[in-house]
Amino acid sequence: MKVSRILIILMLVFLLALPALLSTSLVNAAIQMLIAALFASAFNVLAGQGGMLSFGHSAYFGIGTFATIHAMNALGGEGLLPAPLLPVFGGLAGCALGIVAGWFSTQRSGVYFSMITLALAELLHALAPHLKGIFGGESGVSAMRMPAWGFTFGSSIEVYYLTLAWVVVSLALLYFFTRTPLGRLCLGLRENSNRLPFMGYSVHALRLSVFMISAIFSGIAGGLLALSNEAANYVIFDVNLSAQVVLNAYIGGVGAFFGPALGAAIMTFFGYAVSDLTRTWLLYQGVIFVLVMMFMPAGLFSISSWWATQRGRHAPAVLVRVLATWIVGCVLATCGFVIIVELLAHILAQDYQSLLVPGAAWPAVLLFGIQWQPGALLTWVLPAILLVVGIAVVLLGNRQWSYAQQEQAA
């Protein structure tokens, strides 16, 4: 595993140097990416390693945020627990909620489990607005980062490094977990939980333990959000965050340890990069997710394992050519699809609709620096062609690949 070790070190170096390369707003984006990566990795302990798909993980993240916010307010920032260490309360809150919710959820397995996790998160979501003392009502709860250890934590850069430290340590602990007896049994739960009782194990207790570990680190991630945002609001218990982490993890690939983190980083980055398209960004996420589920079931990370296994059988040039074909096809199809969706989004928006005058031509839409006339045929034909050509190129790549495989087998 030498290559992966080098890659990890390179990644660490890159992350350490990042603030020097980015503007402040992008540093904030990087902080969110780190938090999302940790949350996705914590989620993966349960979903990818334990085989238990949770649709309500925002509960443990959110409770961590609130616990840390309250800790930030309650503790002045002196003594044993200065601000930087406060996410530990997030972890504790996640642990407590994880034990209670996990006890109920792990009574069942499979789809029942998933449904129960969703319902429990919704329960919390419905309850939170009423418990104003804890969750602060519509305006939420806010706090301030107090200085500690000579840092003021006033700038994004300092918060970035603090978050980075927490995330690196947490990921290291999560990786370590996979090497422990419980971590290995976690895989056993996924592979064949039916056999475990006959080997003397309590499946419910094991599942609960794994759930707890996942909730602890989700809570820590939530606590990091509290530190960076200095605020917490009950909308965090929304189903959106739970959905987001599921999307991130599976797009990245739950089979590999870093898969979910990768998926989370990419998705969060795109979320920031295309923030002016946020209305449609969620649609794109859903489409990416469904396409990955259908055509790359092991997630984006599987590209690296695909490369690793195929390198032994094919020349790198062949692989690169096939990969390039696929990528070009995807890019073309994406362009076509995005143009169509963006045009639709603009045309169907209320402010555009109000400009319409019956009988007159529809006004042009400004998109990517070009004026598109909705009435003109070319406006729709061009992206349609892009989409079709893109798909054709992908299919060409498929044909190249099967050809290469046939050649190799011969």
Binding site: Q107, G110, E122, L131, V239, V290, P297, Q350
Partner: protein, 313 residues
């Protein structure tokens, strides 16, 4: 008394609505082992389609055409999406339907906006069925309940009395054997999925006019439907009926109850203390009405993990 009767009626009808939607879900799960996360999305699509069609063809044609379109959508989803990922297991299929529900919600928001639309009951149907202690009871509510009962009867008869029904029921237990006997099982699966989707669409078309039609209706109802199937037991139509009615009635009654735990403590003379503590103790049941189904689910999990009428896993 008025409160009791009205709540009883409302609760029953709401329960019947829940049943309409969860019946399809539980049937599809029983047959294909797939929990269709997008089932309530079909419900939502049915409502929106009926809303759009209503302006073009009128209310009754819209109510009929909309489910048909949703049924076709269901067939397409099964044939080209679910079937492809069948090889990766049930969890994968669940995730796929989850992604699909996501996409459907976003497409709805794209076309109709991220706010409720004004899908209303046509004037012709806005009369009262009867008087309840001086108040009018809307006919349309009864229409919703009636549709649900009709649907239940139809499904039941279809499954038990027709040849198609026998094939479907056999395919639940022994799909390969049924295939060996010459029946086109993939077609059966597609048909059941399409019918399930169409039923959800019908429920949406009918109920959307009465309750609000908005992009969140899929997830709001979806969570409740999941609670119904956990409480009632997946794969059990009777369990779904019992659980739906139970949840419908409880939700309906609790909305009107303005008592809180503090009142309970008041019976023992500890009201002031309870109000001093605040928080959960002073919350009125009516505010918490939305959480009661979940608490019911937790209770069931504690005492009867396989559901009220489910069998052990």
């Amino acid at each position: 008394m008025e409160f009791f009767t009205v709540s009883l009626l409302n609760g029953t009808i709401y329960g019947l609505l829940l049943f309409m939607v969860s019946a399809g879900l539980t049937l599809i799960f029983g047959m294909m082992g797939v929990l269709n996360f997008a089932h309530t999305s079909f419900y939502m699509v049915g409502a929106y389609l009926a809303y759009s069609l209503q302006e073009v063809v009128g209310f009754w044609p819209a109510i009929i055409i909309s489910p048909l379109i949703v049924g076709v959508l269901g067939a397409v989803v099964e044939r080209y999406m679910l079937r492809r990922v069948h090889q990766y297991g049930h969890g994968h299929q669940l995730l796929l339907t989850f992604g699909l529900s996501f996409i459907i919600a976003e497409v709805i928001k794209l076309f109709y906006g991220n706010y409720p639309v004004d899908y209303r009951i046509p004037e012709s149907l806005r009369f009262s069925a009867f008087d309840v202690f001086g108040a009018n009871y809307p006919f349309y509510r009864l229409l919703i309940g009636g549709t649900s009962l009709l649907m239940f009867a139809l499904i039941y008869l279809l499954l038990t009395k027709t040849r198609v029904g026998i094939v479907v029921r056999s395919a639940i237990y022994r799909p390969r054997m049924v295939e060996a006997l010459g029946h086109n099982v993939p077609m059966v699966f597609m048909g059941v999925f399409a019918v399930g989707a169409a039923l959800a669409g019908l429920a949406g078309a009918v109920a959307g006019a009465f309750y609000t039609t908005n992009p969140n209706m899929a997830i709001e109802l979806g969570v409740l439907v999941f609670v119904v199937v956990v409480v009632g037991g997946l794969g059990s139509l009777e369990g779904a009926m019992v659980a739906s009615l139970l949840i419908g009635l409880i939700s309906s009654f609790s909305v009107g109850i303005d008592y809180s735990l503090a009142d309970l403590f008041g019976l023992m003379g500890a009201r002031e203390w309870a109000e001093g503590v605040g928080g959960l103790l002073t919350l009125k049941l009516s505010s918490l009405a939305a959480t009661i189904p979940f608490l019911l689910m937790l209770l069931v999990l504690l005492f009867r993990p396989s559901g009220l009428m489910g069998t052990r896993e």
